[in-house]
């Protein structure tokens, strides 16, 4: 019944994406282009987090491990082999496969337990990966990390920009489709009421584990791009700070909206850049995290839906995307697209 | 006679489910009012709603002439209502004595007297004073829960299915104790065991599908085979 609106929003997103293609012609400064690239990458990372937090109701404190896995897989592969597209593809495949396996194991172990166990175990594992990256010097270069050269194709800042943009747009539409599929509907049902979903005969754990695998793989891909964009990798890609960053992006933008994390990534990255720039004006801006933290706390209390969620529920008269459809059936046949 | 508790057209939800649709009843002082009805009719929910454990969405509840709708559970309890929940609500890791101590708001003479009185009624509690609540038998838990509600000087006791899961001999014991308590306190009793209910109750209300559908004096109900069959499935 909402088919028309969905169509409209798709057109809007496509139009914005199209406009974004031309940014590199207007903004020619490498550092500014770099900020955009970072936004695209973190938007992908944040969208993957939204699959967990927003669509399935799983909190992870170690989502950064998949990001780090992606970054290191790419960097190590490119660092040890010729800087060719082939090595890159191989690195990316390794990244995605490892992420899939790790997320599968972690999910299978903890997603049958209460929510905070997944949060804690992912936190613990991310910590283990950080330590591993620090100690396994022969491969990772320890704390300092290492640089590597890129395949010819990615050396150009503009190419990197377009590649990241394209990735983000494709992943956005892909994930949107995923969340609107019958599978995605079940995930939202789990978020709304796990017990009820279970009693309807769904294997809740199975759905949750698969959601976490999707999230892990997408996050890993964000890590792949991140390593490419920096031409460098170090243990910072496993730092808890990054998990927190991505958490803030998702929350501020709006959980469960997919577009929200993109908005959040843009805001946070720009705010970061802009506020650090103000550090010369007054020392308080060096402590921009305070502002950031306060805004975030206020958002959680007063706008738990985030920017996009609040706009959607207030102005577009669209209820929060809670599951309101078919409680009675198995949910597979009756789902209508774009309901 | 003055009504101690009065519910008028009460509606309530449990999570998303509309459970109570129209509950109205009066509890006169000094009587035992029995709530009867099939499983799932809303009897337990009614008691929980009185205690403020469920939110009232419509209607009014007044206790001693004052509205208690929207007040917090502890406030309602402090205004003079003792509650014996369906699952007895025993603190499993605390001993019998500790369970009672948590409940005792004062340690004055009067409370001690009440404690002694109830311990005489339930000598088992004295015997297992240092036993953990979780290790008591079902009947002992029931006694402890009733004692806990009784020790404070409450005007009203809400007792939810005290006979549930008890051996017949324990049921008799609990029945007898409630009969003794009713000399001193007003009681609202939810009960499936019709024998027990008819022995203790003065007045009854039947709840069906969240609505109080029938009421009268307990003695009349015994003769009213039609209602018994219709609402309670007893023939």
């Amino acid at each position: 019944m909402n088919l028309r609106r969905v169509e409209t929003s798709t057109w809007i997103y496509l139009a914005i994406s199209f406009l974004l293609i031309f940014i590199p012609f207007i903004v020619t400064g490498r550092s500014m282009q770099f900020i955009f690239i970072q936004i695209f990458i973190f938007a992908i990372f944040a969208m993957s987090y939204d699959i967990l937090l927003g669509f399935t109701g799983i909190i992870s404190f170690g989502h950064v491990m998949f990001f780090g896995i992606g970054a290191y897989s790419t960097a190590v592969t490119l660092g040890r082999m010729d800087a060719t597209i082939g090595s890159f593809v191989l690195g990316a495949i390794i990244a995605l496969v490892i992420a899939a396996i790790v997320s599968l194991i972690v999910g299978a172990l903890t997603l049958r337990l209460k929510s905070h166990f997944y949060a804690m175990l992912t936190l613990a594992l991310a910590g283990l990966f950080l330590v591993l990256a620090e100690k396994w010097r022969s491969v990772t270069g320890g704390n300092d990390g290492f640089t590597f050269s890129l395949p010819e194709f990615f050396r150009d800042s503009e190419t990197m920009y377009w590649f990241s943009l394209l990735s983000m747009v494709l992943i956005f539409f892909g994930l949107r489709r995923f969340t609107r599929s019958p599978f995605g509907r079940v995930l939202m049902a789990i978020r709304e009421n796990e017990n009820r979903t279970e009693s309807l005969g769904f294997q809740v754990t199975y759905y949750k584990v698969l959601a976490s695998v999707v999230a892990g793989v997408v996050a890993s891909f964000a890590g792949v791009l991140y390593a490419l964009s920096l031409r460098f990798v170090n243990t910072a890609v496993f730092a808890t700070d990054l998990t927190i960053d991505v958490l803030l992006m998702t929350i501020i933008g709006g959980v469960g909206t997919l577009i929200g994390p993109i908005v959040g990534a843009g805001l946070v990255e720009f705010a970061h850049h802009w506020l650090s720039g103000l550090a010369d004006v007054h020392w308080i801006f060096e402590r921009w995290i305070i502002l950031y933290g306060i805004v975030y706390v206020l958002v959680v209390i007063f706008f738990p839906l985030g920017i996009v969620g609040t706009i959607q529920s207030k102005f577009m008269n669209r209820p929060v995307r809670a599951l309101r459809t078919n409680r009675k059936s198995d949910g597979k046949k009756e789902n209508r697209k774009g309901a | 006679m003055e009504n101690l508790l009065e519910l008028k057209k009460v509606e309530a939800f449990v999570q998303h489910y509309h459970i109570l649709h129209d509950i109205s009843f009066e509890v006169p002082k000094g009587e035992v009012t029995v709530l009867l009805g099939r499983n799932g009719a809303g009897k337990t929910t009614t008691l929980r709603t009185i205690m403020g454990l469920n939110r009232v969405s419509k209607g009014s509840i007044s206790f001693k002439g004052e509205s208690i709708v929207g007040r917090t559970t502890f406030d309602i309890a402090n205004s003079g209502i003792g509650y014996v929940p369906e699952d007895q609500g025993i603190f499993g890791g605390l001993t019998v004595g500790e369970n009672l101590r948590v409940a005792m708001k004062k340690e004055d003479e009067k409370t001690t007297e009440r404690l002694e009185w109830i311990l005489e009624l339930f000598p088992d509690l004295k015997k297992f004073w240092k036993k953990e609540g979780g290790q008591l038998s079902g009947g002992q838990k029931q006694m402890l829960s009733i004692a806990r509600a009784y020790v404070n000087e409450n005007d009203l006791l809400l007792i939810d299915e005290p006979s549930k899961g008890l051996a017949p001999i324990m049921v008799d014991k609990v029945t007898e104790s409630i009969q003794q308590m009713k000399e001193q306190t007003t009681i609202v009793l939810v009960e499936q065991n019709f024998m027990m209910a008819s022995q203790i109750g003065t007045r009854f209300y039947i709840i069906d599908d969240g609505v109080t559908v029938h009421s009268g004096a307990m003695d009349e109900l015994k003769e009213d085979k039609q209602s018994m069959k219709k609402y309670l499935g007893i023939s």
């Binding site: 937090l53 109701g57 909190i59 172990l109 903890t110 337990l113 929510s115 905070h116 166990f117 804690m120 175990l121 936190l123 613990a124 594992l125 910590g127 283990l128 330590v131 591993l132 620090e134 100690k135 808890t240 927190i244 958490l247 803030l248 929350i251 308080i284 402590r287 995290i289 305070i290 950031y292 933290g293 306060i294 975030y296 706390v297 959680v300 209390i301 738990p304 | 205690m51 454990l53 917090t72 559970t73 502890f74 406030d75 309890a77 402090n78 509650y83 929940p85 609500g89 603190f91 499993g92 890791g93 605390l94 500790e98 101590r101 948590v102 409940a103 708001k105 953990e132 806990r148 404070n152």
Partner: protein, 286 residues
Amino acid sequence: MELFISLVINGLATGMLIFLLAAGLTLIFGLMSVLNFAHGGLFIWGAYTGVWVFQMTNSFTLGIVAAILIGLLLGLVTERLVIRPVYGNHMQQILITLGFMLVLQELIKVAFGPDQKAVFPPDFLAGSFMVGDIVLIKYRLFIIAVGILVFVIASLILKKSRIGLIVRAGVMDKEMVQALGINIKLVFMLVFMTGAGLAALSGILHAVYSGVIYAEMGLEFSILAFIVVVIGGMGSFPGSLFAAILVGLAQAFMAYYVPALSLAVNMLLMTIVLIFRPQGLFQVKG
């Protein structure tokens, strides 16, 4: 043998500090099912304020008092402003307390500067003495003594006093506690403040123990406290002591024998516990 004993003492001292930190956290979880990721923020505020007062007045005792006071105060503020609006919603609690944690951590940098600070023990606790061949460092023994003292006092309160019984009863069944006429939110606030005070005490004691403080310790110790609480069994007070000592000893021994793994030892312990005994080593009775 000497080595073994000194490692045990190290481990116990670290364990006691962790226990002070985790005790409050486990009780507030048990009582109101609140997940507080800002707990480490109370810890660093205790550390910085305590050290500041200690260095200004040259009295360690005053430093400790100041730390506890700031802990109680911040505990009150945190409970009122941050926790209360999100009662009953785990996801929001986790998210909001994490944000507040960051704020507390950054505010440390505003109030005390962003750099690391060196801290030295007070004269009467500095140095060590020998018993046979064993070197006993005074300050470590002091920490162990404080930890035991706190555990004993807290246990007595929880076992003997009515308020303690109420707290334990609340952990088991908070609805029933309220139905008995007890204002559980008030009880919870007191527990929260006490926990915050203990975390702050742990902060100042740890500052002198490690000899250095920095703002990022906040998040590190929030995480550490959670690990310990998960290992011990969320809501279990004795469990938090046991798990804290376990983690302390594991850290001490790993740091000596397998230094490469010492950073990971907490995580390893927790992973093992989550896999084989997800309810924690001690389970709270319902």
